[in-house]
Symmetry: C3
């Protein structure tokens, strides 16, 4: 099983060409689209999507993520072997939030031409490098056959949460389609907490920590750990991100009270 995540959109033929390459190598491959609507070159969102989705797929699934502004330069194509499955994509950080969350075991550079298309376009590694690599991985080729193991993959800022004086300083990872503000702060530290003080660029407020959106009174902002295990700020049936002028990448400070 191979999943596909990209910033290609579905209007252009790029995603379909990747599927054609996969199915030409192994016509029995099950391909699952995750999303292709990531904003162009938005590596953080690509990383968030992969980290959210990978835990729900069967062990051994191969996940391709192509958000790749550096294609054609000397950025490396890589393969991450995690406890849960494989991640294939560019070495620009897009695979590393999932690698951290799920436990990365080994990272390999993809440089074996045996597992690429015969002719590599310099503009479309998704089709010419990542799709064939993922397919050969899916049919059982060992990770170490694709190239040398590396230990200096690029590690992005947005996976880090700083802990000082009982506060957590993290980052807004993502605004979902309902306007919920999803941060990179995870559930582990908040077992007994009933409320949190939240500082965002345009708001500083104390919120109850609820279990469901529906527990909120109308128009009252709440905090909750959403379905991905990350802290969210939400407004029941309304758009929290618009209301508080928050965008992905904003710093956030959270203090249990």
């Amino acid at each position: 099983m191979i999943t596909l995540t990209s910033d290609f959109g579905l209007k252009d033929p790029y995603v379909a060409e990747m599927k054609g390459v996969i199915l030409s190598i192994n016509s029995k491959t099950m391909i699952v689209d995750i999303t292709h609507d990531i904003e162009k070159f938005d590596i953080r969102t690509g990383a968030f999507i992969l980290a959210s989705v990978a835990p729900y797929f069967p062990k051994g699934t191969v996940h391709i993520v192509v958000v790749d502004p550096g294609v054609g330069t000397n950025r490396r194509p890589i393969l991450v072997e995690s406890k849960q499955g494989f991640f294939v994509g560019p070495d620009n950080g897009v695979l590393m939030l999932a690698a951290q969350k799920l436990g990365s075991e080994h990272i390999f550079e993809l440089n074996n031409p045996k597992f690429m298309l015969p002719k590599i376009s310099s503009t479309f590694h998704g089709r010419d490098v990542f799709a064939p690599a993922a397919t050969y991985l899916d049919v059982g080729v060992k990770p170490s056959e694709f190239g040398p193991e590396i230990n200096n993959a690029i590690n992005p800022e947005f996976v880090k949460v700083e802990k000082t004086n009982g506060s957590f300083i993290g980052e807004v990872l993502y605004i979902d389609g309902f306007g919920n503000i999803i941060t990179n702060i995870s559930q582990n530290e908040f077992a007994e907490t009933k409320a949190v003080k939240v500082k965002l660029p345009n708001i500083s407020v104390t919120l109850s920590l609820k279990k469901t959106y529906a527990e909120a009174k109308s128009q009252e902002p709440i905090a909750l750990f959403g379905s991905h295990g990350f802290l969210e700020i939400a407004l029941d049936q309304d758009n929290a991100a618009e209301k508080f002028h928050v965008t992905a990448g904003d710093k956030i400070q959270v203090t249990p009270v």
Copy 2:
């Protein structure tokens, strides 16, 4: 075979998480996306899509529909057993237009934790309740094993057509991507009709009842029974809904003349 319909969009990871859950229970499941572009919380459109699509799928197909503003409240998750297949989703009416069109036989509440994920988030029953229930149903678990049969499922307004003095009073169900105005008035009563008088909020007009869009003269509005068997108002190669300021939910009165 399982189909998926929702208001999640394809930008967020929600749909992919549902697919991961399904494929983790049975990696051989064939999953077909219907649409995930329903407007947030638009139950009527979800109902229309399901009613349009279900007749074309093989008998026994399991259709999941998640348009679920009440998730986390006490609205029930349900399963409709129809003559054509199974419908899984919230008890808010979204399954009932299809249930009426295709013949509902039994409705069950989904309350058996055996067929849910071990940990139920209160914000995402699509992944934690509906996806596993649908997969177990697809592999042969009997509907009655999921919970008690119920006979008080919520029945929405938009399935009803009133007949008085030779007129039919119904509702605009849906505006399709071509701007065609699709009503909930069905073909059965109009066998011999050549023209209809149509009353909408912003127009009252007599239209010929055509067989094809192309029979219309340029810019002339027509009525026809579209590919779903419902009465449509259309403008050949133009947008009827914009021209007549019609939106889904508008009342419509149709009189054969």
Copy 3:
């Protein structure tokens, strides 16, 4: 294997109904969505997408393309048998760029009711004519059984490139999601070329012919042969089409220098 390309969007139930028809005839069919986001009635883009994608799919794949403004008129449904696979759709040119690129061997009209749905709506041949024809083709029915061979299929303007005095006069086929300007001028004639003079409606300029987007200096427009083998005008990490006010269908003159 069957692929689907259309201008239906994924909001409406049309694509799902086609999938239902295919899977009702053969529940084992692998269906691959190419795109359904082609602008309504934009035959040129449909043709470009098919020509880009078909080479990457296994031989024998059946590609359905439904961009069909003339549905319900006397335009013919057709089947193109190429060296690479089969193309099924309306006789309005949408299949012919791929037919030319991949080598068309025979073209048949689809008029055998045995391979259509029992009831043909005049508004939706995608579901009632093309989907069943493609499925029967996929399970092994011979092309000649679908109807008579024809030799007068409609051949659109946008496949033609005129060569005069060392210049090539072609057409802008497509603007991709990154704003790259893709023309119908192919790689064959440019083996040794290092720069080209390009004339578009709003710009006349000499560009270096690069191998990758990343070779461009910031904000410098370049020419390159993209991943489809067609000449593109691009701006590294910027939108060339917006900058030069170019749209699909614009004439373009290219002279190697």
